[in-house]
Point group: C2
Chain length 304, copies 2
């Protein structure tokens, strides 16, 4: 089991998390500029969803990962903004009536409720597209080869053999009795692959060696699983108000989750073990990986 983070350490971590969240917000604000004309509605919707706050865990992974390899902050922040655009697009499309049909996201009306379905579909498409534009531009890294590596890694993580495939699997599997290997595979595709990209992005920007990348890979594997288990726990134990999206949806939809398979107690225990393991994988980086190690604890102790 993880120890509770002591108060001073926890304060440092929380302030680092809020600093990267605010840097990401600034980058997103700049990278999604408003446009003229009636089509500005789609940009309003993109901004509404992307600038809507959130914990910005994925940007934190990228920015802290980049610090290990002394990558310039501006580069990391652009990739962080791109990853958050992708995360936001996936939430907008997932919330659509034809998909998970959720009216609430981050405590606010979801994009199609605030605007309409057509605008929400286009806003998701626009964010997905913009993320690749940002990665391709020279401001992201002086070496085009690095930008191409980021582009291909992101596309693989979120395509039909990554996030989109995971979302499909989730829809196909609804109301089916899934076993642990299938639920684990679903998580790896649906949320794990993008988390893996975020954990690797700093190493790509910093042109890190294979050994470093391997350790980040094992970290992201355990962190991603722990994150999903806690998400499943919060869906059962949290209130809609606390988690900012409709609670109890998985059980209502008859979805097999880590909690339905393991029970809440064992699931929480498992998340703690995974978080400890995740932190250990980063020991080779010494102090430089402290924030990422603390993130693993934060992920299992969060209440929303």
């Amino acid at each position: 089991m993880t120890d509770t983070i002591d108060t001073a350490e926890s304060r440092d971590f929380e302030s680092a998390l809020s600093e990267t969240a605010s840097a990401t917000e600034t980058a997103l604000e700049r990278l999604i500029p408003q446009v003229d004309g009636p089509e500005s509605r789609v940009v309003d919707a993109m901004r509404y969803s992307a600038l809507g706050g959130g914990k910005r865990v994925r940007p934190f992974l990228i920015i802290c990962g980049a610090e290990i390899f002394d990558v310039p902050t501006e580069q990391a922040e652009r990739v962080a903004a791109a990853a958050e655009m992708i995360h936001t697009y996936s939430l907008i499309h997932d919330d659509l009536p034809a998909m998970d049909d959720d009216d609430l996201r981050r405590g606010q009306p979801s994009c199609h409720k605030k605007f309409d379905e057509a605008t929400a579909i286009l806003a998701g498409d626009g964010l997905l597209t913009l993320a690749f534009e940002v990665l391709g531009e020279s401001e992201t890294h002086p070496l085009p080869a690095v930008r191409c590596e980021l582009t291909v890694a992101l596309a693989k993580a979120i395509g039909a053999q990554g996030m989109v495939g995971g979302q499909m699997l989730d829809l196909v599997a609804e109301n089916q009795d899934l076993d642990m290997p299938t639920v684990t595979r679903l998580q790896r595709l649906k949320t794990g692959a993008l988390i893996e990209f975020c954990c690797q992005a700093g190493a790509i920007l910093g042109q890190a060696d294979e050994k470093s990348r391997h350790h980040l890979h094992t970290y992201s594997h355990d962190l991603g699983l722990a994150f999903q288990i806690v998400d499943d726990l919060l869906d059962v134990e949290g209130s809609t108000e606390e988690i900012g999206k409709t609670a109890g949806k998985d059980a209502d939809a008859g979805k097999a989750t880590f909690v339905s398979l393991l029970g809440a107690e064992r699931a929480r225990e498992q998340a703690g073990i995974l978080a400890d393991q995740a932190a250990k994988h980063l020991e080779i980086f010494g102090n430089k990986a402290n924030l990422l190690q603390k993130l693993a604890k934060f992920v299992v102790e969060r209440r929303s």
Copy 2:
């Protein structure tokens, strides 16, 4: 007015068009491989829509444009496949009930009718993502800088300031009295920007000079406009069977089009003038641009 293409010339053109269509089909077949597991459903949907035929005008623009600059065929075919993935994704999302709500595409059930809405949304997302993966990979061009240029140019063409913005404008403008400048701007965003990318792709791959790019730009401008005018004419004059999608939709939706603004006769005349102009812009390339010049005539003479 354009002259009717004489029969032998027309046969050469038609066979070139069908050759590039078949090369594009082969590339798409290879680049959208089937996956294992229940999530293969989304890949089925991607393949259903992307491999469903069509005239492949955008790939033709890319492949013929690349020939002007002696670009290796394999490179051009990969970019052609990527552009066709984008075109297909835009059709899938446009056909959704929340958007244009069309049950028919290329004479077949549209993606959400063949599968379901959720799968269609994901198939579009998957194709959009895969297009960027293909552009980023080293097989597309040995120089990463060229791949980044393609990535950024495509993203700009299809994002909120391009195709997605045009689609938004189209939805916002429904049932409004639009004037010629607005309808022209709508076309430039919704279909013109991707056509412009396709016309420039060969020049990017071939690292062509500014002058060549400028001539391709003026060609794509006139060609894109002519193409859209004829699309509007076919919507009025063609049968559903001929055009492979529901005919008469624009008028039913009260949409302002080139035809509703100019009348059919002047619209057809205008399309002819634009096609002639388009062909003239390419005279600097001599014989090398013959097929692109013939395409301009084909575009205004097509019946579907």
